[in-house]
Amino acid sequence: MKRFLLIGTTIAGLLAGSASAWSADKILNASYDVARELFADVNKGYIAAHPGVTIDQSHAGTSKQARAIVEGLEADVVTFNQITDIDFLVKNGFVSDDWQNDFANKSSPFYSLPSFLVRAGNPKGIKDWNDLVRDDVKVIFPNPKTSGNARYTYLAATAYAKEAFNNDPAKVAEFVTKIFDNVPVFDTGGRASTTTFVEREIGDVLITFESETTGIRKEFGEDKFESVTPSVSLLAEFPVAIVDKVVDKRDSREFAKSYLDFLYTPEGQKIAAEHGNRVNDEAVAAEFKDKFPEIRLVTVEDVFGGWPKVQEEHFASGGLLDQIFGER
């Protein structure tokens, strides 16, 4: 069924051919911070199949993007790294509340997970989350109050600790606090943390999306850094949605839909995988099998009871994250 859908959308895309069939020949994709290179390639691929269209990109932390859209940024589609930020758009009437049914896999064309990047030879021998609490290890990840990327890291570390300490809240908090104590710099976004780790040579391990660790090795040299995949991590879905309020106003829904559908085509999936994202398309996943080590992934639903609950218990002002991070 899925394959049929994919073929269907590909054919539809081919039939649409040139953009002249659409009333709008330009859309804006508001996306997350570390997806610049990915969408540069996605757009190249899409435009090759649909000559004559333009896709503008905007990249920033997705909370900032969501706020900008509510305050008037006319983004036709959002490709975020956080479900909660699309929920904010839903709450403000910009996206329909059943957006997760609009595209396959709960509207997440690809996914990733918080993973580790260490310096060549792994001098500190970092293998798993419990190495991050050691006194001799300096850890780099962005500020979880300003970066969705870091919120996944916080949740993944918490999920690991919950398993390791049988859900004992005091011990979990102690474990996560120790990790935070080992972070010398909290940058505001994922890309800034990459700069701190790579250019400033601060820290022994960088925790960021696996897609970013792949990108760093490609950019700065496979021999300078090593990826380390921990024993367990958290599924990070990268949800996409059509911004109804904007596409209705600009009459760009067809274009927006065709663009997001492209992410699910074998070609779109391949581009995503080349940029270190894990994909659901079986053929493409098999082709890139060597690049993605096996890992046990837990979900926010299983460990934390869903995003609304996480938001309330962990991320709200004065929540568990503030108790660990803010009031030290």
Partner: protein, 273 residues
């Protein structure tokens, strides 16, 4: 009203008032309005939380240190530019304005690259055990970088008008160098210096772009108030963001008001002089 030499006063006045209202009063009014939509208890809870208070301390102390630094070096720079003629003087004079023109984020990244432990300055300072990047010292340096021109540019024109004959007269009357500086030059410079200092301090309070790269952003230690405001926005908590920002706004406003009063006094002193 007597006829002015230049025509069009009502028009010019109208444009000015509209401009000031739209560009300055309206956004600030919206900020106060947003903050005021919190009850007094919520407002107090937000602005007096341990983390917020720590951020005020970091911001104000760094801004004071940066302003003190600029007082000494800004005045020296203005003095040298006015009183000495040397090759490259015009070039240095133009360089002083660079922090105004440079996007502050660019300044922040450049300073971080220099002062990071593996940077040109950072690696040398590291040998002496001094850490700059990711410490309050880094915040201070970023602040003094972006606010240096305020002191130089306010003091410079006054120095240019200062007749060297005054110093010579004081000298011939037997004044020591120190007392000439303290009792002749400084009082004449005081109004301009105060204006420059207050602008420099106010700018440092509000600086964001240059600082977040070099600060390290550790809550309670190197987190500035502007970043805390930004964090509250990221939580979609507009009211709390406005509350924290209003503290900065009130501080800057009070400080500018106090300097205006002091300046009026200093002016009276010189007029009497």
């Amino acid at each position: 009203m007597a006829r002015r030499v230049l025509p069009g006063l009502p028009l010019a006045l109208g444009i000015t008032l509209v401009y000031v209202s739209i560009i300055v009063v309206l956004p600030l009014g919206a900020l106060i309005f947003k903050a005021a939509s919190l009850g007094p208890e919520d407002y107090w809870r937000i602005v007096s939380s341990a983390r917020a208070v720590a951020s005020y301390r970091v911001t104000v102390l760094s801004a004071l240190a940066a302003t003190a630094f600029n007082l000494v070096f800004g005045m020296a720079l203005a003095w040298v530019l006015v009183r000495y003629r040397f090759p490259g003087r015009r070039f240095i004079d133009a360089l002083v304005d660079l922090p105004f023109a440079l996007p502050t984020a660019v300044a922040g990244i450049a300073l971080t690259a220099l002062f990071a432990p593996n940077g040109w300055f950072g690696s040398i300072l590291g040998l002496a055990g001094i850490k700059v990047a990711y410490t309050p010292l880094g915040i201070m340096i970023a602040m003094s970088f972006t606010s240096l021109p305020f002191i130089v540019r306010t003091v410079q024109p006054v120095l240019e008008d200062l007749d060297p004959a005054l110093e010579e007269a004081a000298q011939s009357l037997g004044g020591s160098d120190v007392s000439i500086f303290l009792r002749v030059i400084l009082p004449l410079l005081a109004p301009a210096l105060l204006a420059g200092l207050s602008l420099s301090f106010a700018r440092s309070l509000g600086e964001f772009g240059a600082i977040i790269f070099i600060a390290g952003n550790q809550p309670m230690e190197t987190e500035i108030t502007a970043l805390l405001t930004f964090i509250r926005l990221e939580e979609y908590d507009y009211q709390a963001a406005a509350a924290v920002a209003s503290v900065l706004l009130i501080t800057a406003f009070l400080m500018l008001a106090i300097t205006n009063i002091l300046q009026a006094r200093a002016l009276r002193y010189t007029a009497r002089g």
